[in-house]
Symmetry: C2
Amino acid sequence: MAKKIGVVLSGCGHLDGAEIRESVLTLLAIDRAGAEAICMAPDIDQMHVVDHHSGKEVPGQRNVLVESARISRGDIKDIKEIDIADLDGLILPGGYGAAKNLSDFALKGAQCEVQGDTSSLIKAALKAEKPIGVICIAPAVMAKVAQDLGEKIKLTIGNDADTASALQSMGTEHIDAKVDEIVVDKAHKIVSTPAYMFSARISEIARGIEKLVQSVVEMS
Amino acid sequence: MAKKIGVVLSGCGHLDGAEIRESVLTLLAIDRAGAEAICMAPDIDQMHVVDHHSGKEVPGQRNVLVESARISRGDIKDIKEIDIADLDGLILPGGYGAAKNLSDFALKGAQCEVQGDTSSLIKAALKAEKPIGVICIAPAVMAKVAQDLGEKIKLTIGNDADTASALQSMGTEHIDAKVDEIVVDKAHKIVSTPAYMFSARISEIARGIEKLVQSVVEMS
Protein backbone atom coordinates (compact mmCIF):
# COMPACT_ATOMS: atom_id res chain seq x y z
CA MET A 1 0.00 0.00 0.00
CA ALA A 2 1.12 3.53 -0.79
CA LYS A 3 2.54 5.54 2.10
CA LYS A 4 0.26 8.37 3.23
CA ILE A 5 1.87 11.79 3.64
CA GLY A 6 -0.18 14.53 5.31
CA VAL A 7 0.10 17.98 3.70
CA VAL A 8 -0.88 20.82 6.03
CA LEU A 9 -2.23 23.77 4.02
CA SER A 10 -2.81 27.26 5.45
CA GLY A 11 -4.95 28.99 2.83
CA CYS A 12 -4.31 29.77 -0.84
CA GLY A 13 -1.79 32.49 -1.74
CA HIS A 14 1.58 33.30 -0.22
CA LEU A 15 0.68 36.68 1.34
CA ASP A 16 -2.23 35.44 3.48
CA GLY A 17 -2.19 31.66 3.05
CA ALA A 18 -0.19 28.70 1.78
CA GLU A 19 2.42 29.35 -0.91
CA ILE A 20 0.56 27.87 -3.91
CA ARG A 21 3.60 26.74 -5.90
CA GLU A 22 5.29 25.11 -2.89
CA SER A 23 2.02 23.29 -2.15
CA VAL A 24 1.53 22.02 -5.72
CA LEU A 25 5.20 21.01 -6.07
CA THR A 26 4.86 19.09 -2.79
CA LEU A 27 1.79 17.24 -4.10
CA LEU A 28 3.59 16.46 -7.38
CA ALA A 29 6.71 15.15 -5.62
CA ILE A 30 4.62 12.98 -3.27
CA ASP A 31 2.79 11.42 -6.21
CA ARG A 32 6.02 10.88 -8.14
CA ALA A 33 7.51 9.19 -5.07
CA GLY A 34 4.63 6.67 -5.23
CA ALA A 35 3.05 7.98 -2.02
CA GLU A 36 -0.43 9.43 -1.43
CA ALA A 37 -1.00 13.02 -0.29
CA ILE A 38 -3.65 13.62 2.39
CA CYS A 39 -4.46 17.35 2.37
CA MET A 40 -5.65 19.04 5.55
CA ALA A 41 -6.05 22.50 7.09
CA PRO A 42 -7.46 24.02 10.26
CA ASP A 43 -11.11 25.15 10.08
CA ILE A 44 -10.40 28.73 11.23
CA ASP A 45 -10.62 32.24 9.80
CA GLN A 46 -7.54 33.62 8.08
CA MET A 47 -5.69 36.35 10.00
CA HIS A 48 -6.60 38.69 7.12
CA VAL A 49 -7.04 38.85 3.34
CA VAL A 50 -4.36 40.37 1.10
CA ASP A 51 -4.87 41.55 -2.50
CA HIS A 52 -1.96 39.74 -4.20
CA HIS A 53 -1.94 42.26 -7.08
CA SER A 54 -1.56 45.40 -4.95
CA GLY A 55 0.06 43.62 -2.00
CA LYS A 56 -2.32 45.44 0.36
CA GLU A 57 -4.68 44.13 3.03
CA VAL A 58 -8.32 44.32 1.96
CA PRO A 59 -11.64 44.00 3.84
CA GLY A 60 -13.27 40.59 4.01
CA GLN A 61 -12.91 37.27 5.72
CA ARG A 62 -11.82 33.92 4.30
CA ASN A 63 -11.64 30.51 5.96
CA VAL A 64 -8.35 28.61 5.93
CA LEU A 65 -9.90 25.17 5.25
CA VAL A 66 -12.17 26.52 2.48
CA GLU A 67 -9.40 28.43 0.69
CA SER A 68 -6.95 25.53 1.07
CA ALA A 69 -9.53 23.37 -0.74
CA ARG A 70 -8.73 25.38 -3.91
CA ILE A 71 -5.28 23.76 -3.96
CA SER A 72 -6.53 20.29 -2.96
CA ARG A 73 -9.40 20.36 -5.51
CA GLY A 74 -11.93 19.87 -2.71
CA ASP A 75 -10.31 16.74 -1.31
CA ILE A 76 -9.36 18.04 2.15
CA LYS A 77 -9.86 17.21 5.82
CA ASP A 78 -10.19 19.36 8.92
CA ILE A 79 -6.79 18.90 10.60
CA LYS A 80 -8.42 18.23 13.98
CA GLU A 81 -10.02 15.07 12.57
CA ILE A 82 -6.67 13.57 11.56
CA ASP A 83 -5.21 10.67 13.57
CA ILE A 84 -1.43 10.56 13.20
CA ALA A 85 -1.66 6.74 13.21
CA ASP A 86 -3.23 7.02 9.72
CA LEU A 87 -0.22 8.91 8.31
CA ASP A 88 3.36 7.90 7.48
CA GLY A 89 4.69 11.46 7.46
CA LEU A 90 3.71 15.12 7.52
CA ILE A 91 4.72 18.09 5.34
CA LEU A 92 4.02 21.79 5.89
CA PRO A 93 4.45 24.01 2.80
CA GLY A 94 5.25 27.66 3.50
CA GLY A 95 3.72 31.01 2.65
CA TYR A 96 2.67 33.63 5.19
CA GLY A 97 -0.24 31.35 6.03
CA ALA A 98 2.18 29.29 8.14
CA ALA A 99 3.19 32.46 10.02
CA LYS A 100 -0.27 34.06 10.16
CA ASN A 101 -2.81 31.20 10.30
CA LEU A 102 -0.94 28.10 11.54
CA SER A 103 0.86 30.35 14.03
CA ASP A 104 1.25 34.05 14.79
CA PHE A 105 5.00 34.06 14.07
CA ALA A 106 4.58 36.93 11.55
CA LEU A 107 3.35 39.16 14.39
CA LYS A 108 5.17 37.83 17.45
CA GLY A 109 8.36 36.18 16.21
CA ALA A 110 9.95 33.92 18.82
CA GLN A 111 7.06 34.67 21.24
CA CYS A 112 4.56 33.10 18.81
CA GLU A 113 1.98 30.44 19.51
CA VAL A 114 1.00 27.63 17.15
CA GLN A 115 -2.68 27.06 16.24
CA GLY A 116 -4.02 24.39 18.62
CA ASP A 117 -5.05 21.59 16.23
CA THR A 118 -1.88 22.07 14.15
CA SER A 119 0.31 21.98 17.24
CA SER A 120 -1.39 18.80 18.48
CA LEU A 121 -0.83 16.96 15.20
CA ILE A 122 2.83 17.98 14.89
CA LYS A 123 3.47 16.95 18.52
CA ALA A 124 1.82 13.61 17.84
CA ALA A 125 3.99 13.13 14.73
CA LEU A 126 7.17 13.88 16.70
CA LYS A 127 6.18 11.49 19.49
CA ALA A 128 5.30 8.75 16.98
CA GLU A 129 8.66 9.33 15.24
CA LYS A 130 6.98 10.04 11.91
CA PRO A 131 9.10 12.20 9.59
CA ILE A 132 8.13 15.86 9.22
CA GLY A 133 9.04 18.14 6.30
CA VAL A 134 8.88 21.93 6.71
CA ILE A 135 9.22 24.31 3.77
CA CYS A 136 10.02 28.04 3.53
CA ILE A 137 8.78 29.78 6.74
CA ALA A 138 7.02 26.65 8.12
CA PRO A 139 10.20 25.82 10.12
CA ALA A 140 9.09 28.62 12.48
CA VAL A 141 6.02 26.54 13.38
CA MET A 142 8.22 23.47 13.86
CA ALA A 143 10.67 25.40 16.05
CA LYS A 144 7.89 26.55 18.38
CA VAL A 145 6.39 23.06 18.73
CA ALA A 146 9.85 21.61 19.48
CA GLN A 147 10.45 24.33 22.07
CA ASP A 148 7.11 23.46 23.74
CA LEU A 149 8.29 19.82 23.94
CA GLY A 150 11.79 20.74 25.11
CA GLU A 151 13.38 19.17 22.01
CA LYS A 152 16.49 20.76 20.47
CA ILE A 153 16.10 20.41 16.71
CA LYS A 154 18.04 21.44 13.60
CA LEU A 155 16.42 23.44 10.77
CA THR A 156 17.01 25.80 7.87
CA ILE A 157 15.05 28.81 6.61
CA GLY A 158 17.78 29.64 4.09
CA ASN A 159 20.07 32.50 5.12
CA ASP A 160 17.83 35.31 6.39
CA ALA A 161 19.62 36.51 9.54
CA ASP A 162 16.57 37.89 11.41
CA THR A 163 14.43 34.79 10.88
CA ALA A 164 17.35 32.48 11.72
CA SER A 165 17.92 34.45 14.90
CA ALA A 166 14.24 34.12 15.91
CA LEU A 167 14.47 30.34 15.40
CA GLN A 168 17.64 30.19 17.48
CA SER A 169 15.99 32.10 20.32
CA MET A 170 13.33 29.34 20.32
CA GLY A 171 16.10 26.84 20.99
CA THR A 172 16.50 25.58 17.40
CA GLU A 173 19.89 25.14 15.76
CA HIS A 174 19.81 27.02 12.44
CA ILE A 175 21.89 25.88 9.47
CA ASP A 176 22.23 28.08 6.37
CA ALA A 177 21.14 26.40 3.12
CA LYS A 178 20.69 27.29 -0.53
CA VAL A 179 17.32 27.28 -2.27
CA ASP A 180 17.71 23.76 -3.67
CA GLU A 181 19.24 22.22 -0.55
CA ILE A 182 17.69 20.41 2.40
CA VAL A 183 18.75 20.14 6.03
CA VAL A 184 17.99 16.80 7.70
CA ASP A 185 17.73 16.37 11.47
CA LYS A 186 18.07 12.58 11.50
CA ALA A 187 17.51 12.20 15.25
CA HIS A 188 14.10 13.90 15.07
CA LYS A 189 13.33 12.92 11.43
CA ILE A 190 12.79 16.59 10.49
CA VAL A 191 13.66 17.87 7.00
CA SER A 192 13.61 21.51 5.88
CA THR A 193 14.22 23.46 2.66
CA PRO A 194 14.15 27.26 2.13
CA ALA A 195 12.05 27.44 -1.11
CA TYR A 196 10.51 30.93 -1.47
CA MET A 197 12.50 32.29 1.48
CA PHE A 198 14.67 33.05 -1.56
CA SER A 199 13.56 35.03 -4.60
CA ALA A 200 14.34 32.13 -6.94
CA ARG A 201 13.23 30.39 -10.11
CA ILE A 202 10.37 27.90 -9.74
CA SER A 203 12.64 25.10 -11.07
CA GLU A 204 15.08 25.78 -8.20
CA ILE A 205 12.23 25.73 -5.67
CA ALA A 206 11.09 22.42 -7.19
CA ARG A 207 14.53 20.83 -6.73
CA GLY A 208 14.59 21.62 -3.01
CA ILE A 209 11.04 20.37 -2.48
CA GLU A 210 11.70 17.16 -4.44
CA LYS A 211 14.68 16.42 -2.14
CA LEU A 212 12.59 17.18 0.95
CA VAL A 213 9.70 14.93 -0.11
CA GLN A 214 12.09 12.12 -1.07
CA SER A 215 13.74 12.35 2.34
CA VAL A 216 10.39 12.35 4.20
CA VAL A 217 9.15 9.34 2.21
CA GLU A 218 12.42 7.45 2.75
CA MET A 219 12.36 8.03 6.53
CA SER A 220 8.71 6.97 6.79
CA MET B 1 17.57 35.95 -24.71
CA ALA B 2 14.98 33.65 -23.16
CA LYS B 3 11.76 33.15 -25.11
CA LYS B 4 8.75 34.80 -23.47
CA ILE B 5 5.64 32.66 -23.11
CA GLY B 6 2.42 34.39 -22.04
CA VAL B 7 0.32 32.48 -19.49
CA VAL B 8 -3.33 33.54 -19.42
CA LEU B 9 -4.80 32.97 -15.96
CA SER B 10 -8.53 33.12 -15.15
CA GLY B 11 -8.65 33.31 -11.35
CA CYS B 12 -7.40 30.93 -8.67
CA GLY B 13 -9.22 27.63 -8.12
CA HIS B 14 -10.68 25.20 -10.63
CA LEU B 15 -14.37 25.71 -9.80
CA ASP B 16 -14.47 29.48 -10.40
CA GLY B 17 -11.02 30.32 -11.79
CA ALA B 18 -7.81 28.89 -13.21
CA GLU B 19 -6.94 25.29 -12.34
CA ILE B 20 -4.14 25.94 -9.83
CA ARG B 21 -2.12 22.78 -10.48
CA GLU B 22 -2.28 23.14 -14.26
CA SER B 23 -1.13 26.76 -13.90
CA VAL B 24 1.80 25.95 -11.61
CA LEU B 25 2.87 22.95 -13.71
CA THR B 26 2.80 25.23 -16.78
CA LEU B 27 5.04 27.79 -15.03
CA LEU B 28 7.43 25.01 -13.93
CA ALA B 29 7.65 23.50 -17.43
CA ILE B 30 8.25 26.93 -19.02
CA ASP B 31 11.11 27.63 -16.59
CA ARG B 32 12.61 24.16 -17.12
CA ALA B 33 12.46 24.73 -20.89
CA GLY B 34 14.65 27.82 -20.38
CA ALA B 35 11.86 30.23 -21.30
CA GLU B 36 10.28 33.03 -19.27
CA ALA B 37 6.62 33.03 -18.22
CA ILE B 38 4.68 36.30 -18.51
CA CYS B 39 1.50 35.95 -16.43
CA MET B 40 -1.60 37.90 -17.37
CA ALA B 41 -5.35 37.95 -16.75
CA PRO B 42 -8.33 40.12 -17.66
CA ASP B 43 -9.23 42.84 -15.11
CA ILE B 44 -12.87 41.75 -14.73
CA ASP B 45 -15.12 40.32 -12.02
CA GLN B 46 -15.36 36.54 -11.76
CA MET B 47 -18.68 35.05 -12.93
CA HIS B 48 -19.17 33.91 -9.33
CA VAL B 49 -17.35 32.57 -6.26
CA VAL B 50 -17.44 28.86 -5.37
CA ASP B 51 -16.57 27.39 -1.96
CA HIS B 52 -14.11 24.65 -3.03
CA HIS B 53 -14.76 22.67 0.16
CA SER B 54 -18.55 22.40 -0.21
CA GLY B 55 -18.55 22.82 -3.99
CA LYS B 56 -21.37 25.37 -3.65
CA GLU B 57 -21.66 28.93 -4.95
CA VAL B 58 -21.30 31.51 -2.16
CA PRO B 59 -22.03 35.25 -1.94
CA GLY B 60 -19.23 37.69 -2.71
CA GLN B 61 -17.30 39.05 -5.64
CA ARG B 62 -13.69 38.43 -6.65
CA ASN B 63 -11.64 39.98 -9.46
CA VAL B 64 -9.98 37.67 -12.00
CA LEU B 65 -6.71 39.67 -12.21
CA VAL B 66 -6.43 40.00 -8.42
CA GLU B 67 -7.10 36.31 -7.72
CA SER B 68 -4.80 35.19 -10.56
CA ALA B 69 -2.03 37.20 -8.85
CA ARG B 70 -2.07 34.56 -6.08
CA ILE B 71 -0.65 32.04 -8.55
CA SER B 72 1.78 34.52 -10.15
CA ARG B 73 3.03 35.82 -6.78
CA GLY B 74 1.97 39.38 -7.68
CA ASP B 75 3.90 39.48 -10.95
CA ILE B 76 1.00 39.83 -13.39
CA LYS B 77 -0.22 42.11 -16.17
CA ASP B 78 -3.67 43.17 -17.31
CA ILE B 79 -4.14 41.15 -20.51
CA LYS B 80 -5.34 44.21 -22.42
CA GLU B 81 -1.92 45.84 -21.96
CA ILE B 82 -0.10 42.94 -23.65
CA ASP B 83 1.33 43.40 -27.15
CA ILE B 84 1.66 40.04 -28.91
CA ALA B 85 4.91 41.32 -30.47
CA ASP B 86 6.48 41.03 -26.99
CA LEU B 87 5.62 37.32 -26.70
CA ASP B 88 6.94 34.19 -28.41
CA GLY B 89 3.94 32.04 -27.54
CA LEU B 90 0.78 31.89 -25.44
CA ILE B 91 -0.61 29.23 -23.07
CA LEU B 92 -4.06 29.03 -21.47
CA PRO B 93 -4.33 26.67 -18.47
CA GLY B 94 -7.79 25.30 -17.77
CA GLY B 95 -10.20 25.29 -14.86
CA TYR B 96 -13.78 26.55 -15.01
CA GLY B 97 -12.29 30.07 -15.12
CA ALA B 98 -11.63 29.50 -18.83
CA ALA B 99 -15.29 28.59 -19.33
CA LYS B 100 -16.78 31.14 -16.89
CA ASN B 101 -14.44 34.17 -16.94
CA LEU B 102 -12.42 34.00 -20.19
CA SER B 103 -15.63 32.93 -21.95
CA ASP B 104 -19.18 31.89 -21.07
CA PHE B 105 -18.77 28.37 -22.51
CA ALA B 106 -19.89 26.83 -19.18
CA LEU B 107 -23.29 28.50 -19.62
CA LYS B 108 -23.76 28.67 -23.39
CA GLY B 109 -21.68 25.86 -24.89
CA ALA B 110 -21.10 26.30 -28.62
CA GLN B 111 -23.04 29.62 -28.52
CA CYS B 112 -20.44 31.11 -26.15
CA GLU B 113 -18.57 34.38 -26.48
CA VAL B 114 -14.93 34.95 -25.50
CA GLN B 115 -14.00 37.86 -23.18
CA GLY B 116 -12.98 40.78 -25.38
CA ASP B 117 -9.36 41.39 -24.32
CA THR B 118 -8.67 37.64 -24.27
CA SER B 119 -10.19 37.15 -27.71
CA SER B 120 -8.12 40.05 -29.14
CA LEU B 121 -4.84 38.64 -27.85
CA ILE B 122 -5.52 35.10 -29.08
CA LYS B 123 -6.54 36.44 -32.51
CA ALA B 124 -3.34 38.49 -32.64
CA ALA B 125 -1.29 35.40 -31.71
CA LEU B 126 -2.94 33.35 -34.50
CA LYS B 127 -2.36 36.09 -37.07
CA ALA B 128 1.27 36.50 -35.98
CA GLU B 129 1.73 32.71 -36.23
CA LYS B 130 2.84 32.46 -32.60
CA PRO B 131 2.23 29.02 -31.06
CA ILE B 132 -0.70 28.66 -28.66
CA GLY B 133 -1.12 25.96 -26.02
CA VAL B 134 -4.55 25.22 -24.54
CA ILE B 135 -5.06 22.96 -21.54
CA CYS B 136 -8.11 21.12 -20.13
CA ILE B 137 -11.27 23.11 -21.05
CA ALA B 138 -9.34 26.11 -22.52
CA PRO B 139 -9.64 24.51 -26.00
CA ALA B 140 -13.27 25.71 -25.92
CA VAL B 141 -12.00 29.31 -25.86
CA MET B 142 -9.61 28.52 -28.72
CA ALA B 143 -12.38 26.85 -30.76
CA LYS B 144 -14.62 29.92 -30.48
CA VAL B 145 -11.83 32.34 -31.50
CA ALA B 146 -10.95 30.13 -34.48
CA GLN B 147 -14.63 30.02 -35.48
CA ASP B 148 -14.77 33.84 -35.35
CA LEU B 149 -11.77 33.94 -37.71
CA GLY B 150 -13.16 31.21 -39.98
CA GLU B 151 -10.19 28.91 -39.28
CA LYS B 152 -10.71 25.14 -39.07
CA ILE B 153 -8.43 23.91 -36.28
CA LYS B 154 -7.67 20.60 -34.57
CA LEU B 155 -7.92 20.16 -30.78
CA THR B 156 -8.42 17.71 -27.95
CA ILE B 157 -10.32 17.98 -24.68
CA GLY B 158 -9.69 14.31 -23.90
CA ASN B 159 -12.65 12.02 -24.58
CA ASP B 160 -15.74 13.70 -23.09
CA ALA B 161 -18.37 13.24 -25.79
CA ASP B 162 -20.56 16.27 -24.95
CA THR B 163 -17.67 18.73 -24.81
CA ALA B 164 -16.10 17.27 -27.96
CA SER B 165 -19.46 17.63 -29.72
CA ALA B 166 -19.71 21.31 -28.67
CA LEU B 167 -16.22 21.95 -30.09
CA GLN B 168 -17.16 20.21 -33.33
CA SER B 169 -20.29 22.34 -33.68
CA MET B 170 -17.96 25.39 -33.52
CA GLY B 171 -16.15 24.00 -36.56
CA THR B 172 -13.21 22.44 -34.71
CA GLU B 173 -11.95 18.93 -35.48
CA HIS B 174 -11.80 17.00 -32.19
CA ILE B 175 -9.27 14.24 -31.64
CA ASP B 176 -9.51 11.97 -28.58
CA ALA B 177 -6.39 11.95 -26.39
CA LYS B 178 -5.24 10.43 -23.11
CA VAL B 179 -4.35 12.54 -20.06
CA ASP B 180 -0.62 12.57 -20.81
CA GLU B 181 -0.93 13.09 -24.56
CA ILE B 182 -0.95 16.23 -26.70
CA VAL B 183 -2.60 17.01 -30.02
CA VAL B 184 -0.63 19.32 -32.32
CA ASP B 185 -2.24 21.33 -35.13
CA LYS B 186 0.98 22.12 -37.00
CA ALA B 187 -0.66 24.36 -39.59
CA HIS B 188 -2.04 26.70 -36.91
CA LYS B 189 0.68 26.03 -34.31
CA ILE B 190 -1.93 25.05 -31.72
CA VAL B 191 -1.22 22.41 -29.06
CA SER B 192 -3.73 20.95 -26.61
CA THR B 193 -3.70 18.45 -23.72
CA PRO B 194 -6.67 17.21 -21.63
CA ALA B 195 -5.14 17.52 -18.10
CA TYR B 196 -7.93 17.69 -15.46
CA MET B 197 -10.61 16.92 -18.07
CA PHE B 198 -9.66 13.51 -16.64
CA SER B 199 -9.77 12.56 -12.97
CA ALA B 200 -6.07 11.66 -12.97
CA ARG B 201 -2.93 11.69 -10.83
CA ILE B 202 -1.04 15.00 -10.70
CA SER B 203 2.06 13.27 -12.14
CA GLU B 204 0.02 12.26 -15.22
CA ILE B 205 -1.30 15.82 -15.61
CA ALA B 206 2.31 17.05 -15.36
CA ARG B 207 3.45 14.76 -18.19
CA GLY B 208 0.85 16.13 -20.61
CA ILE B 209 1.60 19.74 -19.68
CA GLU B 210 5.37 19.21 -20.02
CA LYS B 211 4.82 17.90 -23.57
CA LEU B 212 2.54 20.82 -24.40
CA VAL B 213 4.99 23.45 -23.11
CA GLN B 214 7.91 21.77 -24.91
CA SER B 215 5.93 21.81 -28.16
CA VAL B 216 4.94 25.49 -27.76
CA VAL B 217 8.53 26.52 -26.98
CA GLU B 218 9.89 24.48 -29.92
CA MET B 219 7.44 26.04 -32.38
CA SER B 220 8.16 29.57 -31.13
